[in-house]
């Protein structure tokens, strides 16, 4: 199957392959799999405890070229974003950027799952981040009712 140039670029020259210390409180780890094909992906983030900005992202993928490209791209995208913004990335953004054909959509789904799983894992270690997000929702609700 013909891969797009962007896929090939990430595949032959993947960014941010590697491992972060799973046990660190500032590190979130997401391990996900695609049952369609049996491929697995691990994505890890290191989050700044004050700003909640993702300072570093690493991945390791055992899967097809599209899955490797999707996870490589995902780590590039989320670095420098705060966790709430990183959660807004959806698999369709990845599909568009990499021009993935329909049969490869599940590979991009895997990357989105990995981002979410990593952030959830980090949040579990940081209950106050939940509270902050909930607080901003409350504030938002107040704004809405007073408007």
């Amino acid at each position: 199957m013909a891969y797009s140039n962007k896929v090939l670029d990430h595949y032959t020259n993947p960014r941010n392959v590697g491992t972060l210390d799973k046990s660190s409180v500032d590190v979130g780890t997401g391990l996900v799999g695609a049952p369609e094909c049996g491929d697995v992906m691990r994505l890890q983030i290191k989050v700044n405890p004050e700003t909640h900005v993702i300072e570093e992202a690493k991945f390791k993928t055992f899967g097809c070229g599209s899955a490797i490209a999707s996870s490589s791209l995902a780590t590039e995208w989320i670095q420098g974003k705060n966790v709430e913004d990183a959660l807004k990335i959806s698999n369709t953004d990845i599909v568009k950027e990499l021009s993935l054909p329909p049969v490869k959509i599940h590979c991009s789904v895997l990357a989105e799952d990995a981002i979410r799983a990593a952030i959830n894992d980090w949040k579990k270690k940081h209950p106050e981040a939940h509270a902050a997000a909930a607080q901003s929702e409350v504030n938002q609700a107040e704004v809405n009712t007073t408007a």
Partner: protein
């Protein structure tokens, strides 16, 4: 249904009264072979039936028939090939049955992701997390072994490690096959004599979902077996 030619009651691929080929219909693979939706299939008799029908439906035999009969024979021949290819393979057969039972194996993971995005909740992984952990770990080890092998081609230790891994994965695959066999038996027992589908709807869904879970788990192990064989070859 009446035969289009002699107007006698007809069912199956040929009219029992006049022997003419009957119209091609959209049908599932089990019905094509007049089988109930059972997962234990007697392969030798499936094969015999396949060859018998291939001969009888062969388009060459209809070269002098009507245009419609020619079309039906071509259509039925292609259905026959698809049906046989799917039913003779135990995993393809199981996957196909699950599809007939309304499971979209290809889409389950994606819809779970969509749900997680909307609710912000954690996505439910379709396989248990500890299996993922294990598979990931094994992949890491396998990668290391493969890299070592590239460096020190004939190192007997590496080859031994790989062979052990191969045995381990194959054993796991065998365990899953045994488990699948049990599910098959359970499923088949739900289909009463004379009926083509399970009648107990609750049990039907329960056994179906067990098999979905099993096929999901199996795909990871199958990849490991494939990769380790590749590394050893």
């Amino acid at each position: 249904m009446l035969c289009w030619s002699c107007r006698q009651p007809a069912s199956g691929h040929f009219c029992p009264s006049c022997g003419k080929i009957q119209p091609a219909q959209a049908t599932d693979y089990f019905s094509f072979f007049s089988l109930p939706r059972k997962l234990n299939i007697d392969l030798p008799s499936l094969e015999r039936e396949f060859y018998r029908l291939s001969r009888k439906l062969h388009p060459d035999l209809f070269a002098r028939g009507s245009a419609q009969e020619q079309e039906w024979s071509t259509e039925k021949t292609s259905q026959l090939n698809d049906a046989y290819r799917t039913l003779k393979d135990p995993i393809a057969r199981t996957g196909y049955l699950l599809e007939l039972e309304g499971v979209k194996l290809e889409e389950q993971s994606r819809s779970a992701t969509d749900a997680a995005r909307q609710t912000g909740a954690e996505k439910k992984q379709v396989v248990p997390p500890d299996l993922l952990e294990e598979v990931f770990e094994l992949n890491m080890q396998l990668e290391e072994m493969r890299m070592n092998k590239q460096v020190g081609e004939d190192d007997p230790n590496i080859v031994r490690d790989l062979q052990q891994a191969q045995q381990h994965f194959e054993q796991k695959l065998n365990e899953l096959t045994t488990e699948l066999q049990n599910d098959w038996n359970e499923w088949d027992a739900l289909i009463p004599a004379g009926s083509t589908e399970p009648q107990d709807q609750q049990a039907r869904i329960r056994v179906r979902d067990k098999m979905v879970d099993l096929l999901n788990r199996r795909s990871y192990i199958r990849n490991l077996v494939r990769d380790v064989n590749e590394a050893l070859s």
